[in-house]
Amino acid sequence: MTANELLPLAVLASSLVPGLVIFTLPEAWVGTRSALNLFGALAKLALVGVLLAGVNEGQDYAVRYEALPGLDIAFKADGLGLLFVTLSALLWLLTTLYAIGYLEGSPRRSRFFGFFSICVTATMGIAMAANLFTFFVFYELLTLSTFPLVVHRGTEQAMKAGTLYLAYTLAGGTVLLTGIVWLHHLLGHTEFAHGGIVAALGPQAAGQLKVIFVLLIAGLAVKAALVPLHGWLPRAMVAPAPVSALLHAVAVVKAGAFGIIRIVYEIYGIELAQSLELLTPLAVVAAATILWGSLRALFQDDLKRRLAFSTVSQVAYIVLGVTLFGPVGTVGGLVHLVHQGIMKVTLFFCAGNFAETLGIHKVSEMDGAGRRMPVSALAFSVAALGMMGAPLTAGAISKAWLVEGAYAAGMDWAAWVLWTSSLLNAAYFLPILWRFWFRRTPAAWPHERIAARGWRETSWLLLLPPLATALATLVAGAFPHIELSPLDWARLIAEREYAPR
């Protein structure tokens, strides 16, 4: 096995091996566990860096393993996959730091971090999958490894949420599998390739291809939380904050959206999808999700639930971008994959900070929180402004491209949907910001667990990650055209997709 073949496997191993070891650690070995976690995260980042450098030089990283005759588990490192890999690796490091701080003193941490690591391994597998079969294997692995995280607290409510989550995701997985086997049966393989592979079947397979498309997208739509399959997401908010951050910014929801991107671009190909008239219905579903998610978010008092519906809405932006035929829309969707991840994770980190430090979970309790926890509130504000599409934030960049892409594709109504959604975003985020900064602090907080020490409003482990991601939001927004920015990357990928063959 050459070094090039070893590298993708090493990326997987960098979280799998520490995860398996962590399972065996006694609960009290906090230092060892944190060290293992961080070592894994840093190793992964380093390996991803090597991958990036290599791909930049034109190296080819691919590895295959025969699972059944004619069916391979295959990994490759291409532009789209690496985009997701890098996002996941970076955010995993930050979320690990955050989780170590958040769960201090909680029970069953070995089990938590073990499954946490496996969850990230699964995400990496999804990102680097070179065919639908491999994608599916890791997709289901993601479902299975996130279940223990959702039910971590073991309360009746957590169990209910977890069972609902599994019901949705296993059903979705079954539908997805149906589509994959059918496609494999028709084509003999399911390898991802630029411009899609399905065109080789010719026009007589059009009817079947439409049905397969519906099956595949439906299966992925569960994780991507497209309406009406989004029901599990708000209920899963019962999980601890690091889980919500990871699930909703990095792993699960993004995996669904990423899968949709792969299907549209690298299985069907954008032109074939357009000619089969598959893009418009998908765009409608995405638009409906955008509006419905934003509307529901308006009426939530629980902060995490409001953020959950915001996620439902925002991830649909990515799907909408994918359906806008034309390179501009594609860039918009892809870059929003990254930007939404960074911004949403910030919001969840801060929500976790408020809950953990002051015991406030509801928007109505957030009066004056900005005075008591200025750093968290500032990070939250930056990310919220990004969600609204305020200038100089990452969100503005993605929104601009998406709107332009909508016009370029001749789908002006999509631009209206995006503008409406921005307004709705403002409607449910601005009141929170108002409460933070412009209302009087209450006499006592519901449950102040961590006392303020000077400017350190809470544990530094809880402060550093949201600060980092909020900063990233600003940098991505202010300097979008530097090399290797998410925007730059997205444009490279889109170029290859639309290049004439």
Binding site: Y65, V151, G154, E156, G162, L177, W182
Partner: protein, 476 residues
């Protein structure tokens, strides 16, 4: 090859004489030796093709021929590879001097000998003898040291199995009467050659019906839940994981061999089996979801999982269907053994058998529940387990021939399995405190359960090797 039959008979008798303590050691040593022998045989068959061996130097028709091809070797491998960890498990499970363990080891030895003989037999009558011995040993295991419910379950099983093998024998008799031989190798071309008389059709039907009873195909499954659910955990593991597979192996062997022409001429037979298999999947899963006792849940799960095996019969035109069946046999063998082993540990810890009583055990017995979960993964057919590979091949074989409803049944079965597996896991993950103090569980129990479960998942990575072994030696 003959050693694979003689050796277990030897240590079974030795175990009977030595008593349970040293008998266990004899069993474990014997099984380890057998595993080595099977590995050796597998290597030989992979390299050089199918082999035969005339026992005592006397060949057929008066003597007995043993034959090992890809399918036999694969089944032998399953048998020894599951029985060995279960033997280690059982040694730790039975309290020293317990009544149950006095007969456990000799019976297990006879069971293993019978199964090995079954997989190695090349003629129909020897298969009958092996089948009977297997059934009797299994019944003995169910009854050993048990109270009235176990005795009743054992008797029900005994009567069912005797009817099954009786029907099989009738078929053999009819075939011999028509063709003058019971050797499978000779019969297959004879049956394929000309128009088979009506008697042969009846014989085929009788044999299949009899074997279906022994494999607990719906609606002949009535004996399985009480027998597997009521027996001690190691016994249930052996029975669900291995014994029912032996009679399935025979159905497959017959269907691919002598009865193949008949099957090709009457596709309705294959569809009938598939229909009954679908009913088994639905009924078994439904009952498992409702079961209040853990071992009954697992036993009904066996009924459901066996249904999958019968779905392959109408699809056998595609080679991946037979492969799917064998892969599923392997996957389910390991997974079900692991599940019963884990259940045994859980029952030992809580002192009671209900699913509700498992509340909060995830913290105390994490390894056992992890094993249960991994085994459940295989049953649900989720990647990367071997169960998933079997499911994929089955669906692909169905789609290749246009029978999409079979694929739907398979997929629905996976979801139904998720229901009952999750029932157990959900209870265990609840953070409620356990009702009473937990009794200590020997680590061996947890580790063997885990090893078996891990094997069923890891097999998912080596699926190609298994299939290569199956194809080697010109499997039918």
């Amino acid at each position: 090859m003959a050693w694979l039959i003689v050796l277990p008979l030897g240590w079974a008798s030795l175990a009977f004489l030595l008593g349970p303590g040293r008998g266990a050691v004899a069993a474990i040593i014997g099984l380890a030796a057998q595993l080595w022998l099977v590995a050796d045989l597998a290597a030989a068959v992979s390299a050089a093709g199918a082999r035969t061996h005339a026992v005592g130097g006397w060949g057929a028709p008066l003597g007995i021929d043993l034959a090992a091809d890809g399918l036999s070797v694969v089944m032998l491998l399953l048998m020894q590879a599951v029985a060995l960890p279960l033997a280690v498990y059982a040694r730790a499970y039975f309290a020293p001097g317990a009544d149950e363990s006095r007969y456990f080891w000799p019976m297990t030895g006879f069971l293993v000998a019978a199964a090995n003989a079954l997989f190695l037999s090349a003629d129909l009558f020897n298969l009958y003898v092996a089948l009977e011995l297997l059934g009797l040993a299994a019944v003995g295991l169910v009854a050993a040291g048990g109270g009235a419910p176990q005795l009743a379950a054992a008797l029900r099983y005994l009567l069912a199995t005797l009817v099954g093998s009786g029907a099989y024998l009738l078929g053999v008799a009819a075939l011999y009467g028509t063709y003058g031989t019971v050797s499978i190798a000779t019969l297959t071309p004879l049956l394929a050659a000309g128009q088979a008389p009506a008697l042969v059709w009846i014989a085929g039907g009788a044999m299949l019906a009899g074997l279906a009873v022994k494999t607990a195909l719906f609606p002949f499954h009535f004996w399985l839940p009480p027998a597997h659910g009521g027996a001690p955990a190691p016994v249930s593991a052996l029975l669900s994981g291995l014994v029912v597979k032996a009679s399935f192996y025979l159905i497959l062997r017959l269907w691919l061999g002598p009865l193949g022409e008949l099957a090709a001429a009457a596709p309705g037979a294959g569809w009938l089996l598939a229909l009954l298999g679908s009913a088994a999947i639905l009924w078994g899963s439904f009952q498992a979801i409702r079961a209040a006792h853990l071992k009954m849940l697992i036993a009904y799960s066996t009924v459901a999982q066996l249904g999958y095996l019968f779905l392959i019969f109408p699809l056998l035109a595609a080679p991946s269907a037979a492969q799917a069946g064998v892969m599923h046999v392997f996957a389910h063998g390991f997974a079900k053994a692991a599940m019963f082993a884990a259940a045994g540990a859980l029952i030992r810890a809580t002192g009671q058998d209900t699913v509700a009583g498992l509340a909060g055990l995830a913290e105390r017995l994490p390894l056992t529940l992890f094993a249960f979960g991994l085994a459940g993964l295989t049953l649900m057919g989720l990647p990367p387990s071997a169960g998933f590979l079997a499911k994929w091949q089955l669906i692909e074989a169905a789609l290749a021939q246009g029978y999409w409803f079979v694929a739907v049944v398979v997929l629905a079965g996976g979801l139904l399995a998720a229901f009952y597996v999750l029932r157990v896991l959900r209870q265990a993950f609840l953070s409620a405190p356990a009702a009473g103090a937990l009794r200590p569980v020997p680590r061996t129990l947890e580790w063997t359960a885990f090893a078996l479960a891990a094997a069923s998942v890891l097999l998912g990575f080596r699926g190609v090797d298994l299939l290569a072994l199956l194809a080697a030696g010109g499997a039918p």
